[in-house]
């Protein structure tokens, strides 16, 4: 739930090469550097193993009987789970055309055989480093800068895919829209740093009360959204109640006498609320209810209730 980039303890490196002497040498050299090395003796086996072991990096020979390295590269780049895995071509060919083809097909690097182990290891480290930075950037693009929760565009994507899963399997999905009550007053009375502290504090409370597979985001301004996966109304409501209570009890250093509360609108995916728009509208309507009924409370969208006109 809390976004993080996991660092592999022993990154898996997959070697695809038809020459046993090369496989053996690479296994010894890379294992000594702390990599978990797997090997495949031809292209088909290589693609299969890549799918099965999801390696951090692939070392790929070009000239192999049957499926050659270029074909393997094309296949890998078409597979969503593997298209971003860095591939270093390790080939006996020093033909510039082969180098260009390999790099244009998406290889991260191209090393000629015979190879120098010191150089190869440095290139492996470099490819892994670049890959890690790219993942970090991709992740940062999905995060809210202030709170560290997911941002809205990522949340919308996830909500869409969870609703798809719900339609297929009936797995329950619940959506909560959460809004800090009278937040503008905090900003106006104590300044924006105090307002930011409240946003961050609320985000921390939300993050600590959710399960690992729930998704929380800053939806915009002082509004947050929570996607409860595999949770029915009762379970989601219980989590929201814990969040509500903890927020209302929190004492803020910048304004100890001024407590902060939030209102929550909850809607569960159902035949009536099966699209993202319908579910968000239902949760928003419930949130409006909670505000109307005095704030600092949770309201649930009722399936039987007529939809708002629109």
């Amino acid at each position: 739930m809390v976004p993080a980039i996991e660092l592999d303890e022993a990154p898996v490196v997959l070697v695809i090469d038809d020459c046993p002497a090369i496989r053996r040498l690479l296994t010894a050299k890379l294992s000594a550097s702390g990599y978990d090395v797997r090997t495949a003796a031809d292209g088909h086996e290589g693609v299969e193993m890549a799918r099965a072991c999801a390696p951090s990096l692939i070392l790929l020979d070009l000239a192999m009987p049957g499926m050659d390295g270029f074909e393997v590269l094309r296949e890998l780049k078409q597979c969503p789970a593997l298209m971003h895995t860095p591939v270093i071509v390790l080939s006996g060919s020093d033909d510039p055309c082969d180098k260009a083809t390999g790099l244009d097909l998406g290889a991260a690097d191209y090393v000629c055989k015979p190879f120098d182990a010191v150089e190869l290891r440095a290139r492996v480290r470099s490819a892994l480093r670049i890959h890690r930075l790219m993942r970090l950037l991709a992740q940062r693009a999905r995060l809210d800068g202030l709170t560290g929760l997911w941002n809205r565009s990522y949340f919308d994507e996830r909500l869409e895919s969870e609703l798809g899963a719900h339609a297929r399997s009936g797995e329950p999905v619940a959506l909560a829209m959460c809004d800090l009550d009278r937040f503008k007053e905090i900003n106006d009375a104590y300044g924006h740093p105090a307002g930011d502290a409240v946003l961050e504090g609320f985000a921390r409370i939300i993050a600590s009360e959710l399960r690992a597979h729930d998704v929380a985001c800053r939806y915009g301004g002082e509004e947050f959204a929570i996607l409860f996966r595999g949770a029915g109304e009762a379970q989601a409501r219980a989590a929201l109640e814990r969040i509500r209570a903890r927020l209302s009890e929190t004492v803020w250093p910048a304004h100890p006498a001024r407590r902060v509360t939030a209102s929550f609108g909850l809607a569960c995916a159902s035949p009536e609320f099966r699209t993202r728009e319908a579910l968000v509208a239902a949760a928003d309507a419930a949130l409006y209810d909670a505000k109307q009924r005095g704030r600092d409370r949770i309201a649930t969208a009722l399936i039987a209730r007529p939809r708002a006109a629109g």
Binding site: D18, C19, A21, I22, L25, A28, A63, P65, G92, K113
Partner: protein, 104 residues
């Protein structure tokens, strides 16, 4: 070429590296089988197979500290593409000679 220089042993550039000892041993130990495969592919006229064997030795030789083998194998790989019998024969003899002289 005199008999003595011809039979001079070729030692891996990594001979002094304890991490490479076992690996070089493995590579050297493979040589008789490699030579047998090279001869066989030539004698049965399997030029494709000969080219593959040469290609692999090109990649592996220098990686195990035997750049002479990579160089000779690179020539044989090229020659076997042209399929000039005499040239291939010469290239093959050169590579086999080197392979036979490889020592720990």
């Amino acid at each position: 070429m005199s008999e003595s220089s011809d039979r001079e042993a070729i030692v891996s550039e990594f001979a002094g590296d304890p991490d490479m000892l076992e690996l070089v041993e493995f590579f050297v130990g493979q040589m008789p089988e490699r030579v047998r495969q090279l001869r066989q592919s030539f004698e049965t006229g399997s030029l494709d197979e000969l080219r593959t064997l040469a290609h692999q030795l090109k990649g592996a030789g220098g990686s195990y500290g035997f750049p002479q083998i990579s160089e000779s194998a690179r020539r044989l790989e090229k020659q076997s593409e042209a399929a000039e019998f005499a040239e291939v024969r010469r290239g093959l003899d050169d590579l086999i000679d080197l392979c036979n002289r490889v020592r720990m």
